[in-house]
């Protein structure tokens, strides 16, 4: 394969953080994925019920693209970004950057990443990959979810970069232009922790943050009226597991990854309180994981009566209580 041979491909939990960590590490700026996620105040919750989605859903991290923007701001690093109206010009620009030996991050529709099996692929415009080279008609792709470096045909990459729809990628590309070696993490960490806590507690929208968890618990009880049949209901309930565990969250809806951030932050700040908070969010993560397992089990068994759904709803409501206590405490640490 014709690509930048110095590039080290690794799997990461999440595509946006993974792409960013890979680009930074390969540029010589050593940082962990958990640190990227935490410094960007990526932890979040939102319950979404709009016609953009085929069924109500929820998110467990900040808006796609925010991790990159927040990290760049917090660390004062310059990321060169591009968007294109003209697809041909956008493909040419990519080729030019690759010819210069650059590794380039790109936003794509996950549906067209045909190195994954069909059953895994859904239309999702906010998947991030690194493009590390080109060989004939194929681009060489480093995808955080894939164990190996993969190839993607140029016509598919073009479709994926100009997919249109909600949060359309518009050919988005980026790479690190200027790094900042003089970062004082001791100053930054308290600010990023406060921001994360504010996002979970104080945003004035009923479907966001801790309020979003409560909304999810309530609305779950109405899902049975929105499904086609029992198999559809089973599928949507099992998707709770997918959204918490399988869609690049590092497990438990990013709560484990945030625990890893607080642990690292505790060491940097020499803070036993942060260390304790990391253990608490790890426990909260375990409870989310129990919800995932429970949802998968009742979904597969078609055990989806009113009582069982009420039980699941109650488990989720308790998570709202736990996260409210946790983020209120976290907000007061600094």
């Amino acid at each position: 394969m014709d690509y930048n041979n110095n590039f080290e491909h690794k799997m990461y939990a999440h595509c946006e953080t993974g792409t960013l960590v890979s680009l930074l590490n390969n540029a010589g700026y050593k940082i962990t994925e958990a640190m990227v996620f935490g410094l960007a105040s990526g932890i979040f919750f939102g319950y979404l019920d709009t016609k953009v989605f085929s069924f109500p859903t929820f998110i467990v991290r900040s808006k796609p693209g925010e991790v990159r923007k927040n990290l760049s701001k917090v660390l004062n690093i310059k990321l060169k970004t591009f968007k294109f109206k003209d697809a041909d010009k956008g493909m040419q620009k990519l080729d030019n950057l690759l010819a210069e030996g650059k590794v380039v991050g790109a936003q794509v529709d996950f549906f067209y990443m045909d190195y994954f099996p069909q059953w895994m692929r859904v239309h999702n415009n906010v998947h991030f990959i690194n493009i590390i080279g080109k060989e004939g008609n194929d681009y060489i792709i480093s995808d955080s979810y894939n164990r190996e470096i993969a190839k993607l045909d140029q016509s598919l990459l073009k479709k994926a970069r100009w997919a249109g729809g909600n949060m359309a990628p518009k050919g988005f590309l980026y790479y690190p232009e200027k790094l900042n070696p003089d970062v004082d993490l001791k100053k930054l960490i308290p600010k990023t922790i406060k921001k994360a806590a504010r996002n979970m507690l104080n945003l004035p929208l009923s479907f966001i943050g801790v309020k979003g968890i409560y909304k999810f618990a309530d609305k779950l009880k109405t899902w049975s009226k929105q499904v086609r049949d029992i198999e559809h209901f089973s599928h949507e309930i099992i998707k709770i597991n997918i959204l918490l565990e399988e869609q690049g969250t590092g497990g438990a809806g990013f709560r484990y990854m945030y625990a890893a951030y607080l642990k690292q932050a505790g060491e940097i700040m020499n803070s036993s309180v942060l260390n304790e908070m990391s253990e608490q969010i790890m426990q909260i993560g375990d409870d989310w994981r129990n919800i995932s397992y429970f949802a998968a089990k009742i979904g597969k068994n078609r055990d989806l009566g009113e009582d069982r759904i009420a039980e699941l709803s109650e488990m989720i409501r308790k998570q709202g209580d736990a996260e409210k206590i946790f983020f209120t405490k976290l907000k007061k640490v600094y």
Binding site: A34, K51, F111, K300
Partner: protein, 156 residues
């Protein structure tokens, strides 16, 4: 979650999880997907049933192939409308055979691109009987003519 409690042996679908390691540090490990290891059979069955259900509705002229693929690929109507450069009202009309029949070829091509299928698949389905799945393979190859695909059926 302790490291030892998270490992799942499933090679076809690996994921990165953050865990509490044996030395009490927190960090990433690679494990098989719990869901894929334990629930894929159920997923396949539901997909197959949904596909058949939708196909029968197309055959009975109750829904259009646009509605078929949108439902099958779990796309929201608003997302599909933006991708297809259509208003929601106009898109909704294409969910029924009467609306679908009025679409121009260029619009059909746009929908086919969104679903990543040949245009011709909006008018036909290829089915390989369950018993023959292991003997026959089928590939649909694009050609320089963007409206024309070649379907190659081979004995394995």
């Amino acid at each position: 979650m302790k490291e030892k409690d998270i490992y799942v042996d499933f090679d076809a679908h690996k994921l990165v999880f953050y865990v509490e390691k044996e030395d009490n540090s927190y960090g990433p490990i690679i494990s098989g997907s719990y869901l894929s290891a334990n629930y894929l059979d159920d997923h396949w069955m539901k997909r197959k049933n949904l596909e058949e259900q939708l196909r029968n509705q197309v055959i009975a002229n109750e829904i259009s192939p646009i509605f078929y693929y949108m439902t099958f690929f779990e796309m929201g109507p608003k997302d599909l409308a933006i991708r297809a450069n259509m208003s929601m009202r106009k898109l909704t009309k294409t969910f029924k055979p009467e609306g679908f029949n009025k679409l121009r070829v260029a619009q059909l091509k746009l929908f086919a691109d969104i679903f990543n299928i040949p245009v011709s698949n909006l008018f036909q389905t290829f089915l390989i009987k369950d018993d023959d799945q292991e003997k026959i393979e089928m590939k649909q190859a694009a050609t320089d003519n963007e409206l024309y695909h070649i379907t190659i059926i081979n004995l394995k």
